[in-house]
């Protein structure tokens, strides 16, 4: 039962991450390799706000979301004019910079030693310290974000993003400030990713920079690619598949020394097969060119 709850909590955390990345990727057409950076910014910011400033978890989450959204502008504003591959490189640079700062700013982040003993979330005297309680929290937040995202996509804002994705020049020709919309989409995405980071930090109660590497960014992007982008079904499907698949391997009795490698091979295989046979992902509607 505990094992199942752990899986569900991880699914809710990654569902938020993939939904957040779906906004720039599937709606604004911006492929980003910086999602783990915002995930990490959220995790560290919440941790430091709670442990250094003694702020309640939920207030700390709000602050971290704002911080992450503001930091996202540093990558999006200067680089949003760059097309396709160049934007990916700019986001990659941001990812590397954030990781390097987390790793080396030892006074603030304790660097490679990590930060242990992160307190659990607390609200009105309820401490979310057991697995069922924590799942109640992370599941509620994930579903809440799912509903908000759904509203986003069907709103005039979502429609403009979709139009930009379809034809940027045409969107400009009807008076849309494309740059502003892209910066906004990226900021919202960064803010949402910070919520995942906050949940992760207070769930595991220990963070170090290795959880927020480029590999992690690639993994999050893979979730969106595998599931498909441009709607909500895509990222949710991708999250279920990419989290449950390796867990399924445990039941096949594969020895621990082989399992992690096998997992990487399966991820790669899934990506290659999708690229060949279903470039829009399992349940996506947008096909990246």
């Amino acid at each position: 039962m505990n094992y199942l709850l752990h899986i569900l909590i991880m699914i809710s955390i990654y569902a938020i991450l993939s939904i957040s990345l779906n906004l720039p990727v599937g709606y604004a057409g911006l492929l980003s390799l910086a999602q783990a950076a915002f995930y990490g910014i959220g995790a560290y910011a919440v941790t430091l706000f709670m442990m250094q400033a003694g702020i309640n978890f939920f207030a700390a989450v709000v602050l971290s979301v704002i911080l992450s959204a503001i930091l996202s502008v540093f990558v999006s504003y200067p680089s949003i004019r760059l097309k396709g591959d160049y934007f990916i490189l700019a986001s990659l640079a941001f990812q590397i910079i954030v990781f390097t700062i987390l790793y080396n700013w030892i006074d603030l982040t304790r660097g490679p030693y990590g930060i242990p003993g992160i307190p659990r979330p607390e609200l009105f005297g309820i401490v979310f310290d057991s697995l069922p309680k924590f799942f109640a929290l992370s599941g509620t937040i994930a579903i809440g974000i799912l509903l908000v995202a759904k509203k986003f996509y069907s709103s005039p804002f979502g429609l403009v993003l979709k139009a930009i994705r379809e034809d940027e020049l045409s969107a400009i020709s009807i008076g849309k400030n494309v740059r502003k919309f892209k910066v906004l989409a990226f900021a919202i995405s960064g803010g949402l990713a910070a919520i995942s980071g906050a949940l992760y930090a207070s769930y595991v109660t220990y963070i170090d920079p290795t959880s927020f590497t480029l590999d992690e960014s690639i993994f999050i992007l893979s979730i969106v690619m595998v599931g498909g982008s441009g709607n909500l079904r895509g990222p949710v499907t991708g999250t279920l598949l990419m989290i449950l698949l390796p867990e399924g391997l445990r039941f096949l009795g594969i020895p621990d020394s082989v399992a992690p490698n096998l997992r990487q091979i399966i991820y790669a295989l899934v990506l290659i097969l999708l690229m060949r046979f279903r470039p829009q992902g399992m349940a996506g509607e947008y096909r990246l060119d």
């Binding site: 908000v148 979709k162 020709s173 009807i174």
Partner: protein, 253 residues
């Protein structure tokens, strides 16, 4: 006459080659102006300068008595200059209705309103306006289908409807009848005339001389980045010198 658009001594070069060379132009409000001229005369460059996709090296562009020379493309669009592209550029994965709804620039596209706002009466009004224009171009029955399912000619009509819904005053129309069948040509020309009756000012680039004769109030003949001649359609078309330099007399009759 009231001028809606004025170009004063506008020049633009590409790698030393003058695409637009000291061009002056006055566009009268509420009229259909046609720009004709051989390939490479600078017609599309001129459109791009007016829309702001290119900036002039020198000269000024005045729209409704305001200098817009250095404005961004989207700022020009939101001040009322609409563009109909030669290659259409409708939003293919959006439905016909969505293609029109997205043209409204009324602040409702703010992401915070997306979370907290409710489906207001204003949204219903917008749908009504959009449906009115879909009906105008005769595509109301297909409002829920994706734009990519339309024929080429229908996409041109949708693009016109988008310009109307967006409430643009000056419409730049690039080759409205190229590549569509003769029946659709009639429909599109009729719609363009109706646009004029609605008070829109239209500048069209078109190679089909029959179409130009049929719709335009004034014709501008462009060559080598300049307006070489302008006047009433009959005057331009009966000017043998111009017609000869353009396409040879035989094709004009």
């Amino acid at each position: 006459m009231t001028e809606i658009l004025k170009l004063e001594n506008v020049s633009r070069s590409f790698d030393g080659l003058k695409a637009i060379d000291g061009l002056d132009m006055n566009i009268e409000a509420g009229k259909i102006s046609a720009i004709i001229g051989p390939n490479g005369a600078g017609k599309t460059t001129l459109f791009n300068l007016i829309c702001g996709y290119l900036y002039p090296d020198s000269g000024r562009i005045i729209y409704k008595d305001k200098d817009i020379t250095m404005l961004n493309p989207w700022e020009r669009a939101s001040s009322g200059i609409g563009r109909h592209f030669q290659d259409i550029r409708v939003f293919k994965k959006l439905t016909l209705l969505e293609n029109l709804l997205v043209t409204f620039n009324d602040g409702s596209e703010n992401p915070f309103k997306a979370i907290f706002g409710r489906k207001s009466r204003r949204e219903m009004d917008k749908i009504k306006i959009a449906m009115k224009w879909l009906d105008f171009v005769g595509l109301a029955d297909m409002k829920k289908s994706l734009a990519e399912n339309l024929s080429w000619g229908q996409q041109k009509l949708l693009s016109l409807a988008r310009l109307l819904c967006g409430d643009f005053d000056l419409l730049l129309i690039d080759e409205p009848v190229s590549g569509v069948n003769p029946d659709m040509v009639k429909v599109i020309l009729k719609k363009i005339r109706e646009l004029k009756e609605l008070g829109k000012t239209i500048i069209a680039v078109e190679h089909d001389m029959t179409a130009v004769k049929e719709i335009s109030d004034r014709v501008y003949f462009m060559d080598s980045g300049r307006i070489v001649a302008s006047g009433l359609p009959d005057d331009i078309f009966s000017n043998h010198e111009i017609m000869e330099s353009y396409m040879g007399l035989d094709n004009v009759a």
